[in-house]
Symmetry: C2
């Protein structure tokens, strides 16, 4: 019963598309299944079946519904879907900033893999890494349309705020030692640092100086720890640590201090940017790299191979970290809870032109 296709369809469609009764033609309300159903002359349940590709709809009906959808420009309402299904198909990513290469590459990988699994990602930036801010982010997150969260944050801060982590929210943490409480994915910082230091020792250097990252960073802490361990195990003297803040500029200042020390022939910088600063400091101090001083970085950022000289560094597989985060989190969401523990992504030393035997 009822009218089929023909003129009626188009007119009705135009009425709906124009936004019924709204002057100016601006649509006030989106097209819903009911609208499509009315136009196609079926029930909204049938529209639902077509939209979800379910069986049990005869071809002719299906065709009609599809036409009506196209006619009206129907797009499903994800809020209603989320409400119905009780999930959002969205992953939240909490971080301090995208400024560091590592973070942005990890996030990119997360976004890509999440998309492949049908999940969108929502960025939750935390301004200053104060505890209040972290707490705020967690509170907001609780209300956020998110099925799980990936925390890319130095977890010192998380420690205090942890109590407020809403129960029932799935979490994966990157770059932290919270492995006893949450599933953690991280680069094998210690092994990377070990490779870097051994490489320099193997070249014949008596010992290796170290430009460390900020004290609050677990990654920095672990790289420094491994550096110290290798030296101690090899019975080498352990020079005092120069501390930077990941920036090239801080590396430069540390480098100036190191350049003043004639006994310094090998430097392990905790990241590539600080290594860049060290290179500049050595150059300005008239010390040749690698002839007089060798330098190793960490991260293998894209530019490292173009430094002067091209930088020997430890390659970090950020993409893999992102991939594992997503899969660990999705396992947690879909299946049984993942036990806490740390999933380590291996690193590789990339020898380039900034290292050589001591003079």
């Amino acid at each position: 019963m009822g009218h089929r296709h023909g003129q009626g369809v188009t007119i009705e469609a135009q009425r709906l598309r124009a936004g019924s009764d709204v002057p100016g033609g601006r649509r006030k309300q989106r097209v819903s299944m009911a609208d499509v159903a009315r136009l196609a002359g079926v029930s909204s349940q049938t529209v639902s079946r077509v939209a979800n590709g379910q069986a049990g709809v005869v071809e002719s009906t299906r065709e009609q519904v599809l036409t009506a959808m196209r006619e009206l420009g129907y797009r499903p309402n994800s809020a209603a879907r989320s409400l119905r299904y009780g999930r959002f198909n969205t992953i939240g990513v909490i971080l301090f900033g995208l400024a560091s290469t590592g973070n942005s590459r990890t996030v990119e990988a997360i976004a890509t893999h999440a998309a492949a699994e049908g999940y969108a990602i929502t960025l939750i930036p935390v301004g200053m890494p104060t505890q209040d801010n972290v707490l705020g982010a967690f509170t907001r997150m609780g209300e956020l349309a998110v099925d799980g969260v990936i925390l890319i944050i130095e977890v010192h801060l998380l420690d205090a705020a942890a109590v407020t982590l809403p129960p029932g929210v799935h979490v994966v943490v990157v770059d932290s030692d919270a492995g006893d409480r949450y599933p953690v994915v991280d680069t094998d910082q210690a092994d990377g640092a070990r490779q870097a230091v051994r490489h320099l020792l193997d070249l014949g250097h008596r010992t290796v100086h170290h430009v460390a990252g900020p004290a609050e960073s677990y990654a920095a802490e672990r790289r420094t720890g491994a550096w110290r361990t290798v030296l101690e195990e090899s019975g080498r003297p352990v020079p005092p640590v120069e501390r930077g803040d990941w920036s090239a500029d801080s590396g430069y200042h540390a480098g100036l201090r190191l350049a003043a020390d004639p006994s310094c022939t090998a430097v392990f910088a905790a990241n590539d940017q600080m290594a860049l600063g060290v290179l500049r400091a050595l150059h300005e101090s008239g010390r040749q790299v690698p002839a007089e001083v060798s330098v190793v970085g960490f991260d293998d950022i894209a530019d490292a191979s173009s430094y002067l000289p091209p930088l020997t560094t430890v390659h970090q597989d950020f993409a893999e970290v992102g991939r594992r985060c997503v899969h660990l989190l999705l396992d947690q969401i879909h299946q049984e809870p993942t036990p806490p523990g740390t999933d380590l992504v291996p690193t590789t030393l990339i020898p380039r032109a900034s290292t050589a035997p001591p003079p």
Copy 2:
């Protein structure tokens, strides 16, 4: 009427928190307003009023509701809210990747400003910049829980896909010449390039060589155009363009070719990374910077001041671009539609040590 506080509350709360009837204690269902209402002995509307801080709730009731909320760990369901209100408080950001410094810094600024306005941001990465992928992103976006979209994409591709841009979706575009169809926010590429080239000419160089970005990029196109214009207006010879792909490596190869040309005394690279490659090529070819050759970059990335030598470059205010994107989009969402047009963010030349008068 009915029971108040006391033992009953806690027991009921525990039952709910534990996830009624689910063995193993894992809650299957989140706490809803109805649960809180039941525990507090009020209607769910009252809970709603308390949750939204509305007036007209007597202090004692309010207290009771808040207690119940805390007891149960209630958190509002944003899907239901979105459905009710017809908006998501979320902005989508479509981009090819976070790899480039510019993109990640713009996204960071977008995220920050969006958060300040109560909006979350959803990342929609597009793998390869093929038209199919862009189309796919747009389709997904249509179904996405998003009130508006910021497109950080070379819009050559958008051109073909534009027809499918769902009507009624608010858009702001970054870095494109789509200003006649959408509101666009962009760095003043042309002026930045002009400043760079003029700086070199003012130093006394006869002409300026150019390492351009990829042909598909509007930003690259505009920088190249301005470079050419300034030279022509000044009656200088216009050397052939060396084309790179934004990477330091491509800059290196371009630099090797330039280094072979003894008449080349000034180079304007379309971004800092390619400038880095040029510096390396010149160094390896034995040509001094800036004594023999001057180099200018574009972007002013964090590391540029630590290059050898520290790079003279054009500072781009990515944070401001992000800020304007968000506000333009929110204006569009909240108020009347914004007319198409381009909003230009000014640039500044930062003179450092890589430029000097010709030998």
